[in-house]
């Protein structure tokens, strides 16, 4: 029975071996250690990121501080400049105020003088205005007269023009009538001219005939003359 048990132990041992090997292969580990390692990796990454970003922000902060310091010193410088300028401003103001007072005094005197001058000038101006108004009125009257004269002359001219127009229109009508008469005369003259031309042509042909007859008669006459001359010569010879 002991032996039997030991034989049976073999598969059990194998199974235990198998089980132990199976656990050896692992599954990435679900244990606490693995969890901690995972947490460590994540935290490490986060920490590195935060540290690096922090370094950059620190650097930026330092830059900002430096620029703030620069600005502060600039402010100080500007403040001292402002103080000295203020002093200068105050002395300048005092000086200017004095100048101003003087100027105001001068101004007052000038004001007074100018007021009087203005009064004088106003008076003068009023006089001139009055004269100017009289002149203007005179001129207006003259203009009105001229206008009336002009209107009358224009009306006269217009009535004369109207009469002339009527007259010219009548003459134009008469002339047009004459033109028409001349045109009809021309037409009748044209037909008569044509008939005359026809007759000239006919007469020309008669003339031509007569000329040819004359020519032939001339020739005959010449021949007869020649014959007569010959006969007379013969006679003389004889």
């Amino acid at each position: 029975m002991k032996i039997q048990v030991s034989v049976l132990c073999i598969p059990v041992i194998c199974a235990i071996m198998f089980a132990s090997c199976a656990t050896m292969s692992g599954n990435g580990g679900d244990g606490v250690a693995e969890q901690l390692k995972a947490q460590n990796r994540v935290m490490k990454n986060n920490l590195t990121q935060v540290q690096r970003e922090n370094d950059i922000l620190k650097e930026e902060n330092i830059q900002c501080k430096a620029s703030v310091d620069q600005l502060k010193s600039k402010v100080k410088m500007l403040e001292s400049e402002m103080a000295s300028m203020k002093k200068k401003y105050e002395s300048d103001i005092a000086l200017l105020e004095k100048k101003n007072e003087n100027l105001q005094e001068k101004n007052r005197i000038l004001d007074q003088e100018s007021t009087e001058k203005i009064k004088e000038l106003t008076k003068l101006n009023n006089k001139l205005e009055e004269r100017l108004t009289g002149k203007i009125e005179e001129l207006n009257k003259a203009i009105r007269k001229q206008e009336e004269e002009f209107n009358r002359q224009r009306q006269e001219m217009e009535s004369r023009f109207t009469e002339k127009e009527k007259e010219y229109k009548q003459r134009i009508a008469e002339l047009e009538k004459q033109v028409k008469q001349y045109q009809s005369d021309m037409e009748s003259m044209k037909s008569r001219l044509q008939a005359a031309e026809d007759r000239v042509e006919k007469l020309q042909s008669v003339v031509n005939d007569k000329e040819s007859i004359i020519k032939s008669l001339k020739e005959k006459l010449d021949a007869a003359k020649n014959e007569a001359a010959a006969a007379s010569d013969k006679k003389q010879g004889e």
């Binding site: 034989v7 995972a38 994540v42 370094d55």
Partner: protein, 700 residues
């Protein structure tokens, strides 16, 4: 006259002033990858991100957009952005009035908690509706913008390609949830607040088109970041659906996009233009402040990066994916190390190595994990284009063909592990080293300097121990009660019996590139009540020299004895053979010659002969496995081969695997012995139905 009227109407439509259509302009950037330079000098003319900032500032002043949105992958892998954990990139967004950036897969490299930290104190929203911490969205799911009478909601969806850092996954319940469920939960409420909804998506064209056609609340999808814009192997910028809705993919990363929309009965795309980043003179307080902050980051990076990690390197050290994979294999003692391509930006280190050299080269800050995978899965993993593997050459690991059913120790960063998980539904247990590639490279350069060795063949010569356990047990108890006169029915047992048995084997394999030592204790014990049916205890020691893929010389020592002494005797049969081990895909065979001698109870003369061993295993239909095993020894005592003996053990079986460990098998065993001493034969055949436990363990 009609022509003039038509032109007038078209101009009115173009300008959006007819029928009350509002023109809305949005600016987009995508895949910026935190590409800040690290040099301060002349940065306003040469730093790509500053040029983009200048262009954006110019565009903002002229176009008056309703919003400026980044479509994701903005924080990674730019060196300075990585160094600042995305802080400098977030400043970029904050200073240049980016309304929101979509959280994409690459951005998760920064870490969830780090991204959460970036949100604080900045006006730019990190947008994702489907990254959830338990039941609450971790980031802003949507933002709403208004222009005149038009209200537009912009919802962000992260692609499921994102990988959370394993530490964060362990500590928090963050996950990328189903985008459909999230949209269904958000959109009805959002639709009440907005006239139009634009989806900002990192999903593929297929997913986007399906969403746009099925979710009626959506008016437009603008994708970028993780979306490459590939459709049927072509790059496509815009796809219009029949209902007038559009999907846009904005993948350009060296400039910005200007999208002009006409808001009427729906959102219609009027114009989409890309403007490359170029030099623009910007004189604003915000811009100058950002330039100052960027300069501080660059200076800080230079100060920290100047720390000397290692000096006096002999010769130049090439730092690339494969070399670092070799280092991983060395450091973790794994058989195979894999890295996702471009985890390391190739660099040559000489003389003095600084921290910035390492940071600039390493493009993967996930922790290194070790795990074990079956050969079949390993083959699929290393066959991927994106994977660089050390330890696997021509389908072999340490000079041996990868066996589908064997486990291999693998190490990779979390990214590689996630790739593995995409190939299998099974959970793959892992051990976390809690070290990153940077940590390992740094430690190596300060210590052993494996990276400088150049020759890594020694890794294949490392000895490894593997234990294969095969347990097969059965128990049968039959109780018979009958009267004295009753006859036993045919085929039924005569009397009560108890039968039990076990066939257990453990292979202890120590091997390297050239040598394999296998020690195998084997027990085959079966008894019925007090009678032994089988009582075999066998020990085998096998040495194989890995000469080639197919033919390998071997030496085998085998001792057979009884588990329990019978009649106070413990006979021991020794067999010593040498021969050739042949290995094929499904078949292993041994053909050898040697001697067999009973050395105890009683001692006999040695028999000289040849042995032939065949081990054929053929898996089929996923879970079934056919096996044929033959172990035979033909021997003689004389040279004339007259006193010959023959021993043969044949097992053929069919098994069904329930899972990785447990299988049910039906076996037929046949034993044959012929001895000239008696001129008689011994035959034994047996049919067994058993529940088997098979497991392989690799210790180092």
């Amino acid at each position: 006259m009609r022509g003039i009227a038509a032109v007038f109407i078209s101009i009115l439509i173009m300008t959006g002033s007819v029928f009350g259509a509002e023109t809305v302009t949005l600016l987009f950037t995508s895949n910026l990858q935190g590409r800040f330079g690290t040099v301060v000098d002349n940065q306003e003319e040469e730093d790509k991100m500053l040029l983009l900032a200048q262009s954006l500032a110019a565009a903002r002043s002229t176009r008056k957009p309703i919003a400026y949105i980044d479509l994701g992958n903005a924080f990674y892998p730019g060196t300075l952005s990585r160094y600042s954990f995305g802080s400098v990139m977030m400043d970029f967004f904050d200073y240049f009035d980016c309304d929101a950036t979509l959280v994409s897969s690459q951005d998760l490299n920064i870490g969830i908690k780090n991204l959460e930290f970036l949100k604080k104190g900045r006006d730019t929203s990190l947008l994702s509706a489907n990254i959830m911490d338990k039941k609450n969205p971790l980031f802003t799911p949507y933002i709403i913008r208004k222009q005149g009478d038009v209200t537009i909601g912009l919802v962000g969806l992260t692609s499921t390609r994102g990988v959370f850092d394993i530490a964060e996954r362990k500590l928090y319940s963050v996950a990328i949830r189903s985008y459909r469920k999230r949209l269904n939960a958000l959109l009805p409420k959002l639709k009440k607040e907005c006239d139009y909804i634009i989806l900002l998506s990192g999903l593929s064209y297929r997913e986007n088109l399906s969403l746009l056609s099925e979710v009626k609340e959506l008016d437009l999808v603008v994708s970028g970041g993780d979306a490459s814009g590939s459709l049927f192997r072509s790059k496509v910028r815009r796809v219009d659906l029949e209902n007038g809705k559009s999907v846009l993919t904005l993948a350009g990363n060296d400039g910005y996009y200007t999208l002009t929309l006409s808001a009427d009965e729906g959102l219609r795309v009027r114009d989409l233009a890309f403007t490359s980043a170029s030099r623009n003179r910007v004189d604003s307080r915000r811009y100058n402040e950002f330039v100052n902050r960027l300069t501080l980051w660059k200076k800080k990076f230079h100060n920290e990066g100047a720390e000397v990690v290692a000096s006096k390197l002999s010769g130049s050290v090439l730092l690339d994916d494969l070399t670092v994979a070799h280092l991983l294999r060395h450091a973790t003692r794994s058989e195979v190390a894999i890295l996702v391509k471009n985890s390391i930006v190739t660099a040559s280190l000489e003389g003095k190595v600084t921290y910035s050299d390492i940071v600039t080269s390493v493009n993967n800050e996930y922790p290194v994990l070790t795990y074990r995978v079956k050969g079949s899965l390993l083959k699929r993993l290393v066959a991927q284009d994106e994977i660089v593997a050390s330890g696997v050459r021509d389908g072999r690991v340490q000079g041996n063909m990868i066996r589908d059913d064997r486990e291999y120790s693998v190490c990779s960063t979390q990214k590689g592990y996630e790739r593995l998980l995409q190939l299998t539904r099974e959970k793959v247990a892992y051990t976390n080293t809690w070290k990153t590639l940077s940590d390992m490279i740094r430690a190596d350069l300060q210590g052993e300097r494996v990276l400088a060795r150049g020759d890594y063949h020694y890794l294949d010569n490392r000895f490894r121990l593997m234990v294969g356990v095969s347990l097969s047990n059965f128990y049968d108890r039959s109780v018979v009660s009958k009267g004295d006169e009753v006859e036993t029915p045919p085929g039924k047992p005569e009397e009560t019996y108890r039968k039990w048995g076990l066939e257990n084997k453990i292979d202890f394999t120590i091997y390297n590139r050239y040598h394999t030592f296998v020690l195998t204790p084997y027990v085959y014990y079966m008894r019925q009540d007090r009678e032994y049916l089988h009582n075999l205890l066998r020990g085998t020691f096998l040495y194989t020299y890995n000469l080639g893929d197919v033919l390998k010389p071997y030496h085998k020592s085998q001792a057979d004895t009884v588990l329990l002494e019978t009649e106070s005797l413990r006979p021991v049969l020794m067999r010593e053979t040498v021969g050739a081990f042949l290995s094929f895909k499904y078949l292993d065979g041994k053909l050898g010659a040697g001697l067999e001698k009973q050395v105890q109870d009683p001692e006999n003369k040695a028999l000289y002969g040849v042995e032939a061993i065949i081990d054929f295993r053929y898996p089929f239909w996923d879970r079934f496995n056919y096996t044929f095993l033959l172990d035979s020894f033909l021997s003689t005592r004389d040279r004339d081969f007259i006193e010959r003996h023959f021993r043969s053990d044949v097992t053929t079986g069919l098994s069904y695997s329930f899972n990785r460990l447990l299988s049910l098998s039906a076996k037929y065993r046949w034993f044959y012995l012929y001895s000239i001493d008696y001129d008689q034969e011994y035959r034994n055949s047996q049919f067994l139905l058993s529940l088997d436990v098979n497991a392989d363990f690799k210790f180092f």
